[in-house]
Amino acid sequence: MKKRVYIVLIVLTALIPLGLLTNAPAWGEWGKEYYKNSLGFIPKGIESTKELNSPIKDYTIASLGDISSYYLSAIIGIIMIFIIFYILTKVFNAKNS
């Protein structure tokens, strides 16, 4: 059972460059320029929002190519998820015992 889910995760991760085949944004997740172009103005709440300073904004690492950035982002994400669940397991079990 566990072995099988690992296989699925590895296969999906290997396919990650497929996610780069399109540059099209998700519906409703446009940048500010989109509103400027389509409406002629940017709604105030959207305009005044400061973008968060994310360390790996848009899954892009400046010094790397698109595909390597995307792969590395995927791996960083997976590792972070496991670290969080690992810590939670330790914390929960420490409290339980």
Binding site: M1, A24, W27, E51, S54, G77, I81
Partner: protein
Amino acid sequence: MHIPDGYLSPTVVIATYAVALPLWVYGFKKLKSSLNEETLPLIGVLSAMSFIIMMLNIPIPGGTSGHAVGAVLIAILFNPWIAYISISIVLLIQAIIFGDGGISTFATNSLTMGFVGAFVGYYVFEALKKYKFAPYLAGWSGIVASSLLVAILLGIEPIFWTKNGMPLYFPFGLKTTIPALVGAHMLFFGVVEAIFTGLIYNYVKNKNLEFIK
């Protein structure tokens, strides 16, 4: 479906946090009772799968793209509460590290893609369990339900929050958001979610799984 910061009025932001918070508390209690050294790899790997599947953007006609979520798979293999917490953790990482989604909208996104997707998918699956197509239809229903809630939360913005007739936050109303979001999820991303959920469910399912419920 990741609503960015600035798209929702403070009222909706506060309301969604008020709803999401007690559900997180309850979900964490559920997670606490089922997370141990044996279940950790499975919960971790299913959450990681959700993170990866959300990176696989699929272009659709009309110049936009989207992706599956993976909440229903966790809900039917494990438990919908665990799915809600797992998706919330994935969304938090996406928002903070990758600038995908937002902090003010973190509760909204957790409720739509996590809670609603997981529970709708779970109950559809439970109702139709004896049929082979159950996990497929569960995946489709879950993500379509998520997209409906996203469409409503975005679409009410220009109805209630305007100044001098100008929308202050998300500018397009329900007549635009519902066909665009729900339609795209019914026709495209829901189908991907259905295939993802159904294939992987059938590939990994195991009768011994009952112990983790």
